[in-house]
């Protein structure tokens, strides 16, 4: 047991949780009983709050723990997280403002809402909603893996601390909705920035400079005969397709959409797309902690490489600062977990409950259903960690990334074109899902003793090519999806199959705050 660390961790953790409860009164909503208020913070967030919110949302505790762990184990391959977060912002800058506009005109809350109005197909919307929920659940569970790694390092074993942490999170998310993670994100990021800046200056200085850190890493990989501090001829395509595919997937996740829709206007989003890469710099520096751990001779607890960063902090920092660092990771898990559970809950209340259970649900009923669903989602995530092997959640997260990518044609391309037929999109989704599962099933990983679902790098040799090159499975599945969607659309049109009505007009995609088409959001009016 490490008393000083535990005391500092607990104090910071509780202080931040207090903030979460106070957040219900922040920016004084008249009434939290609607999804616009509870689930989107009143759609009123300016540049700063949006920056912290989206940043806190995308750069999660798991990122801070898993990316260095990947670098520690595999080397250069793990650095894909940096190009991934560099290419994503220019890629979605123009796309997301369109989503913001159309969502404001039509009062949409989730990506499935958009698909519903764009393609007039409840079935396609349901598929998108279910994909979103299934992809988000293991992501929430992974945040717990982040907290668990810290607790383990402090000597706190057993499930109780983890359950307490998540119960607190569930309570204030229930009460304050999206305002809670938005407010906490300030504290979380300030702590993380301080810890990382100190780490990146202090630790290499103790280890004899960055040069010797890399030399130590190179020596380790050379001796092991696998990995390396640069890419080899066989994993470059994997590196590029993984970075690109992950970037495409990032803003299809329902929780990223939640962050975007909560912002006040189009300028806020565009400005954020140019300011968010500040986090990528942070991420790049955090990734290098993996090499510092090698140079410092850190070993993981058991076989759990996720404990590498906490162990490094524990070994290098004085106890009190290690406590601060652990709190940063712990609190870092709360923000994304809260936003993700809100996003998944909104999908349930909007696209399942309202569509299939109670068509005449009032905004207040929608908000209540979302609140309860957010609790259910979090209980599910805790059960995932307690009942099954955490490694399994990591596998599920990997699958999550592949499946969320299959909503790209309907959500992402749908923002630009109404060319696709709803039948084609459904066929494409099904084909992409099947292909993704099949590819992942056939990826083995001898290092973790997995015959199936051993990673995301699919060897092209399995398709009959005479090569050792690997490629990101999600990327291949997306290609299958797109081809089938195009063919399906052509066939459906040839058969004159009925298509759903498009509820949007071209101008809806450019509307901005103050535009006559953006109606004032009424929190109590019955939904039409």
């Amino acid at each position: 047991m490490k008393t000083t660390e535990i005391v500092i961790f607990t104090i910071l953790f509780l202080a931040v949780s207090g903030l979460g409860f106070v957040a219900a009164r922040w920016r004084r909503p008249d009434d939290l009983a609607s999804l616009n208020e509870w689930g989107l913070g009143g759609r009123s967030f300016g540049s700063w709050i949006t920056w912290f919110l989206i940043g806190g949302d995308l750069y999660t505790a798991y990122t801070f723990v898993a990316v260095p762990a990947l670098i520690f184990g595999a080397g250069a391959m793990g650095f894909y997280a940096v190009p991934y977060t560099v290419v994503v912002y220019p890629m979605v800058m123009l796309v997301l403002v369109r989503l913001w506009s159309v969502s404001h005109v039509h009062n949409l809350v989730t990506p499935a809402d958009f698909v519903r109005v764009r393609f007039g197909s409840p079935t396609l919307a349901l598929l998108v909603a279910i994909t979103g929920i299934v992809a988000t659940m293991p992501y929430i569970a992974l945040q717990l893996v982040g907290i668990e790694a810290v607790l383990k390092t402090m000597g706190l074993t057993g499930d109780l601390p983890l359950i307490i942490a998540f119960a607190i999170l569930a309570a204030y998310t229930y009460q304050s909705g999206l305002r809670a993670p938005a407010l906490i994100a300030f504290v979380k990021d300030s702590l993380i920035y301080v810890v990382i800046l100190v780490a990146i200056i202090y630790i290499p200085a103790k280890l004899g400079g960055m040069g010797s850190v890399f030399d130590a890493a190179k020596a380790k990989f050379d001796a092991a005969g696998s990995g390396g501090i640069t890419l080899n001829a066989n994993n470059q395509l994997q590196y590029v397709t993984l970075a690109f595919g992950s970037a495409l997937a990032l803003f299809l996740y329902p929780h990223s959409v939640t962050g975007i829709l909560a912002s006040r206007n189009r300028n806020v989003i565009k400005r954020n797309m140019s300011a968010l890469p500040a986090y990528s710099l942070l991420l790049g520096l955090i990734a290098l902690l993996g090499y510092m751990a090698i140079a410092a001779g850190i070993t993981p607890i058991g076989k759990d490489n996720n404990t590498i960063v906490p162990r490094l902090f524990d070994a290098m920092f004085p106890d009190w600062f290690a406590g601060v660092a652990f709190a940063a990771v712990g609190i870092g898990a709360l923000v994304p977990a809260a936003i993700m559970s809100i996003a998944a809950a909104n999908l349930f209340s909007r696209n399942i409950y309202k569509e299939y259970v109670n068509r005449n649900a009032t905004p207040a009923q929608e908000a209540t259903v979302s609140k309860v669903a957010s609790l259910v989602v979090k209980v599910g995530a805790v059960l995932c960690i307690l009942l099954i092997d955490p490694q399994f959640s990591i596998d599920l997260q990997l699958i999550g990334g592949v499946i969320i990518l299959q909503t790209l044609p309907s959500v992402g391309l749908g923002l630009y074109t109404r060319w696709f037929h709803r039948g084609g999109l459904i066929a494409g989704w099904a084909a992409g899902m099947a292909a993704g599962m099949l590819l992942l099933y056939n990826i083995a990983n001898p290092a973790t003793n997995h015959a199936h679902f051993g990673g995301s790098a699919f060897p092209l040799s399995q398709l009959g090519f005479d090569t050792k090159i690997t490629v990101y499975a999600g990327f291949l599945a997306l290609i299958v999806n797109l081809v089938v969607a195009v063919l399906g659309t052509v066939v459906a049109r040839a058969l004159k199959s009925a298509d759903g009505p498009d509820g949007t007009r071209p101008g809806d995609y450019f509307a901005d705050q103050g535009d006559p088409r953006v109606h004032e959001l009424e929190t109590t009016a019955p939904a039409s």
Partner: protein, 73 residues
């Protein structure tokens, strides 16, 4: 008085500067540019410092496009 923008014709979001956004999308996805150890910078291999430098390329381009296409009210 605001007049709704015309729904037909060229998109109001169009700007030739938008094409600049291709640079920070394509360049970081070309491994031959950065997949090497030398030259090092402060002991950090090219692979790492150049990819971190691409962040600056991304920020510069997106900022430029944001400023050029910002809507003033």
């Amino acid at each position: 008085m605001t007049t709704p923008r015309d729904d037909r014709g060229r998109s109001p979001d169009y700007s030739p500067l938008n094409w600049l956004l291709l640079l920070p999308i394509v360049i970081p996805l070309l491994p031959p540019l950065f997949n090497a150890v030398e030259p090092r910078l402060f002991g950090i291999p090219l692979f790492y410092w150049l990819q971190l430098a691409f962040i600056i390329l991304g920020v510069t381009t997106t900022t430029l496009v944001y400023r050029a296409t910002r809507r003033n009210r």
